[in-house]
Symmetry: C2
Subunit: 196 residues, 2 copies
Amino acid sequence: MSPTSETLTAERILEATEEVLRRHGPAKATVVDVARALGVSHGSVYRHFRTKAALREAVTKRWLDRTSEALSGIVAAEDRDPETRLRDWFTALFDAKRHKAGDDPELFATYTVLTDENGDVVGAHIADLTGQLTLIVRAGVDAGAFHAASPEATARALFQATGRFHDPGYARAWEQPGVQEEFEAVVDLLVRGLRQ
Amino acid sequence: MSPTSETLTAERILEATEEVLRRHGPAKATVVDVARALGVSHGSVYRHFRTKAALREAVTKRWLDRTSEALSGIVAAEDRDPETRLRDWFTALFDAKRHKAGDDPELFATYTVLTDENGDVVGAHIADLTGQLTLIVRAGVDAGAFHAASPEATARALFQATGRFHDPGYARAWEQPGVQEEFEAVVDLLVRGLRQ
DNA sequence: CAGCTGACAGATTTCAATATCTGTCAGCTG
DNA sequence: CAGCTGACAGATATTGAAATCTGTCAGCTG
């Protein structure tokens, strides 16, 4: 049985949508294109996603969730010391973003458009990431390595202070010479501020 | 002698251009509008500014320079202790930006368009501001209050880490409840990291 | 009869004709 | 004659008609 004759699922629609977005870009990707790629009528797509916006939102969420999952491994490594985990987490976040932006700039631009139109999903993603950070900060406080009156507020401050190295709005700066040093300077300053 | 019959100077053209930008917005403000506001032909404007882009660049520079000048007073107050000056400087910067954005959102949006199209001018402005910060950091190091291997690099890190509170891209977040606390949390963390 | 199709109305986008603007410059004017 | 004007060519923006897309739904099909 060929893939095109399999049952139409939300999953298959999301995969086709990613492909259509990759090919046509965010401005020209239509629901009709997605249906055509799947060999169905566009009415069938609307059976799984109420609107085009909902479809694009789901694709956005998938994309963001992939980054969150990649980072959660560092949070879970509870045997390693908190400062190292904190530095590794930020380094992994920066590297992931930098590669996404640098390896396929067009696709990255496409997803930037998608995140811009899905503020709620992005908000949830940021809440997810600061949640991960909170776990590391709290572990540091419990181990007596970090000082933080409120691990949650401190995690938020850490995330915001490093925005230049993960906010897509700064993507162009990630290619400039010297960013790595700038990243390390900011993280060093923050880690010093965090130490007991 | 009425103002409209005075000599046509670059200064008068810049003032008229600001007014036209305020009235029509960045997309519809034309050189012809500026000339009309001054009661001259548009050819005369081109006598003082080679292109429309050069005119808009000059307006942008003027606007940014006003902020720099307002902050330079804090840098100059060398009798006060460096940590206070550093906090005051960031507070003044954040307040200035927040008011510009909040008091007249339309005008702020206009200048955001202008800064976006004048990267060089913005770069010089940022260099100016980090230069001011460097002076404060160096004073702190000299007084034994701050630790910083390179005051210049540290100043850059401080500026970048506080981007969320001065970069126009985050203007919408400046209205949200809780920003003040977030600002203080970030500055506290950075100042702690800076202390000897 | 669950799931899919395709015709349809209203919304949005495209495209090409038209209007306006930018930048130049020969000549006018005080 | 220094500074300004306004006509002009090419570039850019606006507009409105035509094409396409979104979202619905009555009916088809396996």
